[in-house]
Symmetry: C2
Subunit: 172 residues, 2 copies
DNA sequence: AGAAGGTTATTCGGCAGCGAAATATTCGTC
DNA sequence: GACGAATATTTCGCTGCCGAATAACCTTCT
């Protein structure tokens, strides 16, 4: 079977002077592969987002708004946490996106310190359009796997995510 | 088996109004899992990098310098391409890192438009230290998989990376 | 040889995001 | 019910990065 970048990477480093300690080939290769696949998804998403005329951070904000328990609505603070962006950063995003009419801010109902952010019809439309393009690109990659292989992949990945999520919940 | 975030995500969206088109549960879950694992690796790397007293972009630059065919040396343009950063951005990084003594710039030998960037002994030392911590965190996650499972995972991931790399090489 | 065109790195102006401080509102307690 | 602590958001100054323009250099063609 042909070599991929991860194979080349591992070969290049094995016994090379740059590293003073050894490393596990399989772990290193797996890490590189996960990274490369992720970056590919990120790139195709970027292209999809650009095609519908959104900036990256605008799509990300709409996306964060949609993947919530309460899709389409959130407070700035929640968005900040879920996007891994500072509160100040969210304020900036909301300012520009509200101006463009893709979401609107409303004063919190019972707690007036809060602000309710809601996607507009137009914001939702653009996000859906980008999601559709994005999904096609992902489906495309997955065609190289059989249904059983995809199931196996998910089973193994899930073992890892369960562990990671446990670590996040406790230690952090 | 317990549910992970990807399971919850898929359940939440199935037949929800936010999406107008359906999506493949397994593909969506796989994408989310890859993303979450990648982000975990990124986070642990960030912690490792912070512990040795490097900023993210400083580690990334040293790393780009080390994973090359010619480890420890490169031109700014090459680094820009490999890091996915603009040439201007690289100039800024090199300015500050050279000032701190982690790398040095030298005029290109036969082509004097070029600049040769070289990591210093101290830069190499810090990068190695961060790499060591980073590697431990990755090994840690992988302990949830048996040796055979890791091999299977790599086989499936490699199917995808080979496809992705072919796409990158041709279409882009 | 000399001009034209391409390549490589840097400078410049602008923007998104961060951390800290400021502001506005609510909660807790006496 | 009033005062201080807690919470939610925004404002402010700064940093890192990008795209475009610039400077220095190489190559090719005539």
């Amino acid at each position: 079977m042909a070599k991929d970048e991860a194979d080349l990477h591992v070969e290049r480093w094995r016994d090379h002077w740059v590293l003073d300690k050894g490393f596990d080939d399989d772990v290193e290769a797996m890490t590189v592969r996960i990274g490369n696949i992720f970056k590919w998804f990120k790139l195709t998403t970027k292209e999809a987002v650009a095609r519908v005329g959104l900036q990256d951070f605008e799509y990300e904000t709409l996306h964060a708004l949609m993947i919530r328990d309460t899709p389409g609505r959130a407070s700035p603070g929640e968005l900040a946490q879920e996007m891994g962006v500072s509160n100040a950063g969210v304020t900036g995003r909301l300012d520009s996106m509200e101006k463009k009419g893709w979401l609107k801010r409303m004063p919190g109902a019972e707690d007036r310190r809060r602000v309710e952010v809601e996607a507009t019809r137009e914001g939702l439309r653009l996000w859906r359009e980008a999601m559709d393009l994005r999904g096609s690109a992902e489906d495309d990659v997955v065609t190289v796997l059989s249904k059983e292989e995809l199931a196996t992949l998910n089973r193994l990945l899930k073992k890892m995510t369960l562990y990671v999520e446990a670590r996040q919940a406790s230690g952090d």
